[in-house]
Amino acid sequence: VINKLAAQLRLRENQLFLAVTIVIGVLAGLSAVLFTLSIEGLSHGLFGMAPSAPRLLLVPPLVGLVTGVLLARYFPDVRGSGVPQTEAAYHLNHGVIPARVPLGKFLTGVLCVGSGHSMGREGPSAQIGAGLASWLGRWLGLSPARVQALVPIGAAAALSAAFNTPVAAVLFALEEIIGDLNAGLIGPTVVASVTSVIVERSILGNQPLFRVPQYHLVSPSELLGYALLGVVGGIVSLIFCKGLLAGRSLFLRMPKSTRVFQPAMGGLAVGAVLIAFPEVMGVGYEYVDQALNGGLVWKAMVILCAAKLVATIISYVSGNAGGIFAPSLYLGAMAGGAVGSMVHRFAPASTGDPGAYALVGMGVLFAGIIRAPMTSVFMIFELTQDYQILVPLMVANLLSYIISRRFQPKPVYHALLEQDGIYLPGPESRFKGIARARDLMTTNFVMVPRDWTIGDALGLAESNRATSLLVGSDGVVAGILERAELEKVRSAGQGGELISSIALKAAWPYVYADDPLDVALERLGDSQGLLPVLSRLGRRLEGVITRQTVLQFLDVEDMRDSVPSPAAEANEPQKHL
């Protein structure tokens, strides 16, 4: 009877999940529409139709003071885009996003983008949608796995409404948030995305975001022009990513007490840019539209590309809440339009209008910055609804992607998370049902603080027959010291000095707790027999892997030397130092 009821309940949960998916589609769509409308309303209220220079200069920093307080005191986890945080919540926090996140993101996102910061609304919309979905799943008492599944569904639904491209939104959720295009969540993600876009169109009408010019490849040789665009796009992507990461690193190094003022500081700088180039204000899609329709000359597009790049980096690194999705499209349209104009000038008979290049450029920069090439292809395809664009788009995207990846191996969203001490699992860590590093490790270890003397540390190593020592404190590993190295220092008569006097190696092998067995074994081979296991949140030490713990896991006795059995080892905490 119980089994029958359990089966019935499981069926009920499936049905409930589908119903919740639809409701989430509606709510996420509505949240995205409200978010867009609020930004437009605030922007209109603050700047009017034709803002004066003082207004352009002062509005961003003054609003920045308010958002600074909100972000520092109440909503510290809603700075920036929202996409990386959503990915972290999905992969590392079982899909749990606190209820304050969507609320905070909505408020601060409206204030930041509405006050003229050069940021996008799509990333924040995705985080709001994902946050709503996560909260709803928990409120309805769904299982943790279902709650986790709702995160990309909510993000896709919100993105679908924010950008009016349902297919690209689904792909973005799969490619970027889940990190697996074959994920089993495709069905509910499509349902939510379609529901959301229906809601959005029923409110805002079925108007495309941009007036897209009719596309055609004039001659096969024109692909060379698109290849050039791919290279330029890759370089611009790289400059943007490097600038963004370097600038953010600079702001993160500032004292914590300045965080409350950082958005206002950024606002002042952005205000100065806006006086010279009001075209880079906010989302800036009207200028993307102009670039697409040949409304800007190449010099203007080059200047706007540079100004947007600077303004977006300042807005983002100063800790404001807003995304880089729209800026990447803006940069792409300007860079593409400029390249198109030049190419068209040199070969007018065999090349298309600059608008076509601007269109492809949007996808190129998206592929280079966001590193979601499939999403970028489908996004532009959805905007144009023209198959002809696919080949040049793929050629240009591929080049941009390769260049960007070659010189900035970490995708920008992942790199931004790593600056916050969050390390997302790679694809190899996402397979289920295989042994992980956490299965091999032992939590019986000690770490030698840096204020120990070399002699004391060596004594500890000798008494435990350890070949390596972990150095650090409070769960944070500073490095690994070889016993041989310590002996060398002692023999030089410096045994009384502190460990901190020894320069630790900057790089040492480690694994994350969810890394698979083969990765752990490979890294162990690279180590001196001691492999730290770190958490992805904050890289804190969770345990260590040694040859003995591996053998213990495999239930094999180490025949090489007469070490104690794994069972005995567990009782010798000092063994793993």
Partner: protein, 401 residues
């Protein structure tokens, strides 16, 4: 016999055999769970519906705001365009069309401003997008035709003009606007020497224009320009019938009558005009010379007719002598031959012979025509009486079967 020990369900108190779960409580638990879920879902749906209507109201308010902004940008754009600042007008109209995309008026205004700013290719892109939605929109087609005409793509321009003329016209003064477009097309055809097509369009226009003085004058001028003075006279006369002293109609009728060879009517009409225009003055003088020297003028006495013919012949002889005296024409064999023919013919040209032989006058006029034509070729265009002689001889040639 061993009986199984019985227990009681701690929740509902039902008797259960050992190890048996209470089916009633389990079902109740599931029911309560389902009930809770249903309630929660219902609440969610209500929240979603409520939020939908709130968002819709917000969206409507936002749309209203944008529509007002768009109207203001449009007004600014018009002011700027009229003030001769098309580039600024482009920016204003662009904002208007982005704020209110439903209103084609703004998009058209943008295209207009782009055209005024010389950014024809951008204007064309916008108009082509508009045309995709409404291929039979006459205004869009006219704008496209104007751009094509500016770019000297005449076949494309003609095509767009035709799409405009035969498109779906709405609003006030439909006929007048349509005719205006056809007039533009005719002007284009005239400018590009497509006279036959222009004449066909003008005939089509004539069938549609209202019977007003302005319309008749317009048509008369067009026909005159297109080399059909007979139709031109007809339209000018219709205009004069409606307004006998209309200056444009009198002038047009005078010119058209002159072209048809009705020099008497031409002189009558042109005489009533002020002689400030040198062209009209010249035409009037020529008409007078024609009337005074035409030997074929009806109601002339035989004596006067013969006198005129001989005088004309003598003038032609004088013309060829003067021409032959010039260095440039001295070796011209045709002129020499004609001069000889004139001398030979001169002996035959007496009043008595003219009375007897009616073909003699015709042959004399033919010779005069040949002489004036050849002299014009060798020594430049004729002046005054020689010009009139050319017209007289040409008229005679034209009247021959």
């Amino acid at each position: 016999m061993n009986s199984e020990p019985e227990t009681q369900c701690p929740s509902c108190g039902r008797k259960l055999s050992a190890g048996e779960a209470c089916q009633h409580c389990a079902s109740l638990k599931v029911f309560r769970l389902i009930q809770r879920e249903m309630w929660l879902l219902l609440v969610l749906i209500l929240v979603a519906v409520g939020t939908y209507f709130v968002t819709r109201a917000f969206a409507n308010a936002n749309h209203e705001m944008k529509v007002q902004d768009a109207a203001e940008w449009y007004r600014q754009g018009e002011r700027l365009l009229q003030g001769g600042r098309p580039q600024d007008a482009v920016a204003a109209f662009r904002k208007a069309s982005l704020n209110d995309r439903d209103k084609e008026l703004y998009t058209r205004a943008l295209a207009r401003a782009l055209e005024a700013a010389g950014r024809d290719s951008e204007a064309r892109e916008i108009l082509l997008q508009l045309r995709e939605d409404e291929p039979e929109d006459p205004n869009v087609n006219v704008e496209l035709a104007r751009i094509a005409a500016k770019e000297r793509d005449v076949p494309q321009a003609i095509q767009y003009y035709h799409h405009a003329i035969y498109g779906i016209w709405t609003g006030e003064d439909v006929d007048a606007r349509r005719e205006q477009v056809r007039l533009e097309l005719i002007q284009l055809l005239i400018a590009h020497q497509a006279r036959d097509q222009a004449l066909a369009e003008t005939v089509a226009l004539a069938s549609q224009l209202p019977a007003t003085v302005a319309a008749h004058v317009e048509l008369g001028n067009l026909f005159l320009h297109l080399g059909n003075p007979a139709l031109a006279v007809s339209h000018f006369n219709s205009a004069l019938h409606l307004e006998p002293h209309n200056r444009a109609a009198v002038e047009g009728a005078g010119r058209a009558s002159f072209e048809t060879g009705n020099y008497r009517a031409a002189r009558r009409l042109l005489d009533s005009l002020p002689s400030t225009d040198p062209e009209i003055r010249e035409m009037r003088e020529l008409a007078t010379l024609f009337i005074e020297n035409d030997p074929l003028e009806p109601r002339l006495s035989n004596g006067e007719r013969n006198r005129r013919l001989i005088a004309d012949f003598n003038q032609a002889t004088l013309r060829i002598r003067e021409c032959l005296a010039r260095d440039s024409a001295q070796g011209d064999e045709d002129l020499k031959s004609l001069s000889k023919q004139l001398n030979d013919f001169h002996r035959l040209l007496t009043s008595a012979r003219l009375k007897k032989d009616s073909d003699l006058a015709v042959n004399a006029l033919e010779l005069i025509y040949k002489t004036e034509t050849a002299a014009s070729k060798a020594c430049g265009p004729p002046q005054d009486l020689d010009k009139a002689l050319t017209l007289i001889a040409r008229k005679e040639r034209g009247s021959q079967p």
